[in-house]
């Protein structure tokens, strides 16, 4: 450990882990690593966007007819919830940076809570869709070609997003607990902030694709 790192730890800051010389270096590395990971995540979700584009172009009629069946209220309210959680996450990272422990842990706890609220609302949405048989299979109500593919994509996209969010809620809740006593300059925190914001940006693309299509008169 370098002299800088000793001084930082002595003042109640984090100690860097090997091989980093100081916390700042470790934070930068974690941020860089997270962006690399998010690049692979973008390609992962990008495959779904691509499948969506191809099916939409090849079966426009059934696609739009199916898309009208999604509930815009659930989608819109959840978008607002997610935007608010993104605000809380940004405040948590900056709060920790400016040395405000109370802001940091409260904002993190709010982020996790809002993530959980999103999942609960989405649960109601899923149950409504299942009640209306909007699941590809023999009971599917729309007979147009491409309609079932839309709902296949709907389920894959929303469930994969929900899994990402569940992981996020667990990680952020853990950080909220840590933040009540641990040093404020936890090197991984900005990186997990990036993960949370990424999950929000994926939802920003999902929202028009799943909830806004085919609403115009």
């Amino acid at each position: 450990m370098s002299d800088v790192a000793h001084a930082n730890a002595a003042q109640g800051g984090s100690e860097p882990t090997e091989p980093w010389n100081d916390v700042r270096e470790e934070t930068n590395a974690a941020t860089f690593g997270m962006w690399l990971f998010l690049g692979t995540e973008l390609l992962f979700f990008g495959g779904l966007f691509l499948a969506y584009t191809v099916t939409w172009v090849t079966h426009p009629k059934g696609f739009v007819e199916a898309a009208r069946k999604t509930d815009i209220w659930f989608g819109t309210v959840n978008t607002v919830v997610l935007f608010t959680s993104a605000l809380m996450m940004a405040m948590a990272v900056r709060g920790a940076e400016t040395g405000s422990r109370s802001l940091a842990w409260r904002a993190l706890a709010s982020t996790a809570a809002l993530g959980a609220i999103f999942l609960i609302i989405e649960g109601f949405e899923f149950s409504k869709n299942v009640d209306q048989n909007l699941v590809p299979g023999p009971a599917f109500p729309i007979n147009e070609q491409g309609a079932e593919i839309f709902f296949s994509l709907y389920w894959i996209m929303t469930v994969l997003h929900a899994i990402h969010l569940i992981i996020g809620v667990i990680l952020v809740a853990r950080f909220a607990l840590l933040m009540r006593s641990a040093p404020l300059d936890i090197p991984d925190l900005p990186a997990y902030g990036l993960y949370w914001q990424f999950v929000t940006t994926i939802w920003i693309v999902f929202y028009p694709l799943l909830y806004l299509i085919g609403r115009a008169p």
Binding site: N28, T31, F32, W35, L36, L38, G39, T40, L42, L43, G46, G47, F49, L50, T53, V54, V57, T58, I72, T76, T79, V80, F83, T84, A86, L87, M89, A90, M91, V93, R94, G95, T98, G99, S100, R101, S102, L103, P190, G193, L194, Q197, F198, T200, T201, I204, V205, Y207, P208, L212, I213, R215, A216, P217
Partner: protein, 98 residues
């Protein structure tokens, strides 16, 4: 050490709150445009707004405006690979459609 009431924190709330408000206004605009008769351009309009929202989140909430050129390049790199994937696949599908 500053706490919840310091001017520093207040400025943070004001700035990030303004970003949040901008996102909500863009969302409202998006919904409004989705229900407007735009003659088939609705999805294009909505995706354009989505692109602006993503830009806002990346620039302000993900702090790309403060990051080093290396990190910005990495973020752009992901988009580049995505474009290559779309470009190659759609080249194939769209030339075989008719």
């Amino acid at each position: 050490m500053s706490n919840g009431g310091s001017p520093n924190i207040r400025a943070l709330w004001l700035r990030n709150g303004a970003v949040w408000l901008a996102l909500l206004l863009l969302l409202a605009l998006s919904v409004g445009l989705a229900y407007s008769p735009l003659g088939g351009l609705n999805l294009a309009a909505n995706l354009s707004i989505a692109a602006i929202m993503i830009g806002v989140v990346m620039f302000y909430f993900m702090e790309l405006r403060r990051d080093s050129p290396l990190v910005r390049l990495t973020a752009l790199g992901g988009v580049l690979w995505l474009l290559i994937m779309f470009w190659l696949t759609l080249n194939d599908y769209f030339t075989r459609l008719s």
